[in-house]
């Protein structure tokens, strides 16, 4: 009983902060989601409208399209970051000249604010002045214009996200790889396992928690990305890169439709939690169950 009280006391600051900055705003957004509220409109007061915001949402083609684009973006970005991050982490495990310098340079994108990343990539991809369209034109004769080409605009948002966030994955997986014991690898080599077998049966199971945590963090980030994409493409051309975060931003700020924006935010939170939970069930819970049985 005493240890419980001490535990709760130690948790109290975290619970208080979580309550003030997490739970109370969430409950407020949930409350607003059931109201029509445009504080800058003719009637600036909240009017209760039941589930109408959600009813409007399930018929909103722009929203449904943005879900599809966001899932596609998250899939390509997170998968590429994890794969690339793992290979870079393996590279940093080896000794080679200039490893420290390379690791420092490789980590630099992490300290750049997303809005700055978006600005820099926009400068680099602007057709008349950017270095990327210039090089693509002079080397391959390819005319890059992300203001017109929806596929390239989408690809560039993914590449920008990979550039920005792969170092995070690398550092997490590097920490996991460094902390692994040597004995299982030596044992596997003695048993005659090849590199693929060692990776699949020894390394991967042991770094699974680190991979899972990284995928969760990156998936949640990718599903609510706004500022980088807003700076690079502004959601265009058309709605090709209008991801969910950007969609909500456009509803809440330019249109000041707070009720509908809140309903959309709640659904995005719902989707994020469902995806993370499904991933958790697929990778951890079922495995634990198999082991237990």
């Amino acid at each position: 009983m005493r240890s419980n009280r001490v535990g709760w006391l130690m948790l109290a600051p975290t619970i208080a902060i979580l309550g003030v900055f997490g739970i109370v705003p969430f409950l407020y957004v949930l409350y607003v989601a059931f109201h029509q509220w445009n504080p800058f409109g003719a009637n600036p007061y909240m009017i209760y409208n039941g589930a109408n915001n959600f009813r409007r949402l399930v018929f909103d083609n722009e929203f449904l399209t943005s879900i599809a684009f966001t899932l596609k973006f998250a899939f390509f970005a997170v998968l590429s970051e994890v794969v690339l991050g793992y290979f870079l982490a393996q590279l940093f495990m080896k000794e080679f000249p200039g490893r420290g310098l390379f690791r420092t340079i490789h980590t630099l994108p992490l300290i750049v604010a997303p809005i700055v990343v978006g600005s820099v990539w926009r400068l680099m991809t602007t057709p008349s002045i950017g270095i990327i369209p210039y090089l693509l034109k002079s080397w391959f004769g390819y005319d890059l214009n992300i203001g017109r080409d929806a596929t390239m605009a989408f690809a560039l948002t993914v590449i920008m996200d990979i550039w920005h966030w792969t170092p995070l994955v690398t550092l997490t997986l590097l920490a996991a790889l460094v902390s692994l014991p040597k004995e299982p690898f030596e044992q596997a080599q003695i048993d005659g396992a090849n590199r693929w077998q060692i990776f699949w049966h020894v390394t991967l199971p042991m770094i699974r928690p680190a991979i899972l945590a990284t995928v969760f963090i990156r998936l949640m980030d990718a599903l609510r990305t706004v500022d980088e994409v807003w700076m690079l493409t502004g959601g265009g051309p058309g709605a090709a890169t209008r991801y969910l975060g950007l969609h909500i931003w456009k509803i809440v700020f330019p249109k000041t439709d707070y009720g509908y924006g809140s309903a959309t935010s709640i659904i995005v939170l719902y989707l994020t939690l469902v995806m993370c939970w499904l991933l958790y069930v697929a990778l951890v819970a079922r495995r634990g169950q198999k082991r237990a049985s």
Binding site: S3, A51, F54, R55, V58, F59, I267, Y270, L273, V274, W277, V281, A285, R286, G288, Q289, A292
Partner: protein, 79 residues
């Protein structure tokens, strides 16, 4: 060193603390009550959204409320 900590006793104490009883119901995973409430709420929301999109024109949403609550209770009770 007057106060030595008995690590074995601490481990034993930790092993006796059961956060929440886990069990296997008709859901394909081992769950505790929080998992089942979580799944119930999520299926409730999914069913409501699906109903609003495809069925509300012919069947009122209150039918969905009843079904979703029944499903939630079933999951918490037998899931």
């Amino acid at each position: 060193m007057e106060h030595m900590v008995d690590l074995d006793a601490v481990d034993d104490e930790a092993n006796t603390i059961v956060a929440s009883p886990q069990r296997t119901g008709f859901l394909p995973i081992v769950t505790n009550w929080f998992d089942r409430v979580f799944v119930g709420i999520y299926l409730f929301v999914a069913l409501e959204l699906f109903w609003m999109r495809f069925l509300e024109q012919s069947i009122p949403l209150s039918v969905c409320h009843l079904l979703a609550i029944a499903l939630g209770v079933l999951i918490v009770w037998r899931g």
